[in-house]
Amino acid sequence: MTRSRLTLLLLIPTLALLVAFLLLPYVNMVVMSFRTPSTSAVFAPGFTTANYLNALLDPDFYYLEILWDTMVLGFWTTLICLTLGFPLAYHLARTQSRIKTLLYFFILSPLLVGVVIRCYGWMIILGPHNGLINNTLKQLNLIENSLPLMFNTFGVSVGLIHVFLPFMILPLLGSIQAVDPALEEASQSLGASRLKTMFKVIVPLSLPGIQAGSILVFVLTISSFVIPILLGSYKVMIMPTLVVQQIMDAMLWPFGAALAFILSIAGGLVIYVYLKLTARLVPGVQ
């Protein structure tokens, strides 16, 4: 055996795993989305484009509306995560504080505690009957009836923002740290205010982090599944919950697969437009 053959042994197990259990399943799912649906089995012989057409041309726009709701939810979640995450990342990138590691730990630990547990925490806080907020407000006689904080879009959004915020902060942190603090000092000593320095110097230079974090949060939101179920309880229907319903409960695999690809393509288009727009906003950044 030659040396190069020997080194191939390092690669082959992983490559085989990825081809057999990632590439093939995805190709298989594309094929499945063109299968003829059947009522007696998960699919019938033959191929059709009906699954896509049924979803896109539904006379009530049922599926397109859910797709639109999904994208809108993704947009708002991303925007709010960016608004909350940027100051936090900036502070952590620049702070000299002794508790810097502790702060980093505060960002990491929610990220690494399971999503179900974090949603459960919000269920305890937002719950309609014995929830922390509603109970407190009632005891203070500020409200008589529970506020609808959960099982609606509000509850789902709170959960999404909470769970995905660290995914925004970490890429931002990386790119803000890469911006030389001397540039900020230069900007300020030339008369720009702190706020102006922030928007004219730091934000443009950390654009790669903003893009990476936004895409991450957007993709995670439009493919989220646990959070909408636990905090929305099927009253907030978005594409992933619909797709899983179609596949697990209704056993409509071809249709479910088609819906999944419609979601993926729509998500891909949004990301493409976003990258084009942000690149144009800031000249010189690819």
Partner: protein
């Protein structure tokens, strides 16, 4: 003038720090609430808690073993997935960084692809695929794969390895890129064989990357939801799924006790990571 500027700067600074503190509170509150709730003595979870009690911990340890079973299943899968993905990840990182040549970038993306693709889509693709390959072999009248992948421990484990592998790969390849190749050359010049050089020089230097990647893989697999939800063996549940089913229908604080144990597990792993290699070695 100077005074007003500094005062407005001071006010701005206070606002900025206040905002930061609020976001940190937002991040941590749900976890703190779960931990406090786990000590509630009331039958139905409510806030503020009625009194201190450990009864829900006792209940979780005694409930006909469902919780313990799911914790054991979760730990078993997490450990196996970590071992497999660390072995595969170490090997493939070496290949990609050292020998891949013009294929390096494509391979890199291919290996982290499970991270880039939505987990729920990968789960669905695997579910359908497991059914289809079994059906395919059955149609050929070679029931070779009956029950091997479909809703089996093995099938679930493959799903977990797919998701954890990129984390290990990122950790290890990161420390390999920073590797000073002259150290290996020196070892070889001094008569160290290829194996000795790897064992005594290369491995110790990339060890932090391996440890960080493996610990991250452990936590990620332990918390994995969508893959487990769709692929788990019928009649079993990993801990996140058991929790998911419980908190939707039951309102006593048992789930909080179990969650607290999980949170502590995560914190311990993070603490070990910080001690061994530093939190910064974790790569996402």
């Amino acid at each position: 003038m100077a005074l007003t500027t500094s005062r407005s700067q001071f006010v701005g600074r206070i606002f900025f720090l206040g905002f930061i503190v609020l976001v940190y509170i937002f991040l941590l509150t749900p976890l703190v609430v779960v931990v406090i709730a786990s000590f509630d003595s009331a039958e139905i979870l409510s806030f503020p808690i009625e009194g201190f009690s450990l009864r829900w911990y006792r209940k979780f340890l005694s409930t006909e073993g469902v919780w313990l079973d799911s914790i054991i299943l979760s730990l078993k899968i997490a450990l196996l997935a970590t071992i497999i993905s660390t072995a595969l990840g170490t090997a493939v990182s070496l290949y990609v960084v050292r020998f891949a040549g013009k294929w390096r970038e494509s391979l890199r993306i291919f290996i982290i692809l499970p991270l880039l693709l939505p987990e729920i889509l990968t789960a669905i693709a695997l579910l359908i695929f497991y059914y289809n390959i079994e059906g395919f072999f059955n149609a050929l009248s070679v029931p070779l794969l009956s029950g091997v992948f479909r809703h089996s421990f093995f099938g679930l484990l493959i799903g977990h390895v797919l998701i954890t592998l990129p984390f290990v790969f990122l950790g290890i390849s990161g420390s390999l890129y920073n590797f000073d190749m002259s150290l290996e050359e020196a070892s070889r010049n001094l008569g160290g064989g290829r194996f000795i050089t790897f064992w005594r020089i290369t491995l110790p230097i990339v060890k932090p990357g391996i440890i960080a990647g493996a610990l991250l893989a452990l936590i990620i697999s332990y918390d994995l939801f969508a893959i487990s939800y769709l692929l788990k063996p019928i009649g079993t549940a990993t801990l996140p799924i058991q929790l998911f089913d419980y908190v939707r229908w039951e309102f006593d604080p048992t789930a909080a006790a179990v969650s607290t144990v999980s949170i502590i597990f995560t914190l311990v792993v993070l603490f070990i990571t910080e001690r061994l290699v530093g939190l910064r070695a974790l790569r996402f």
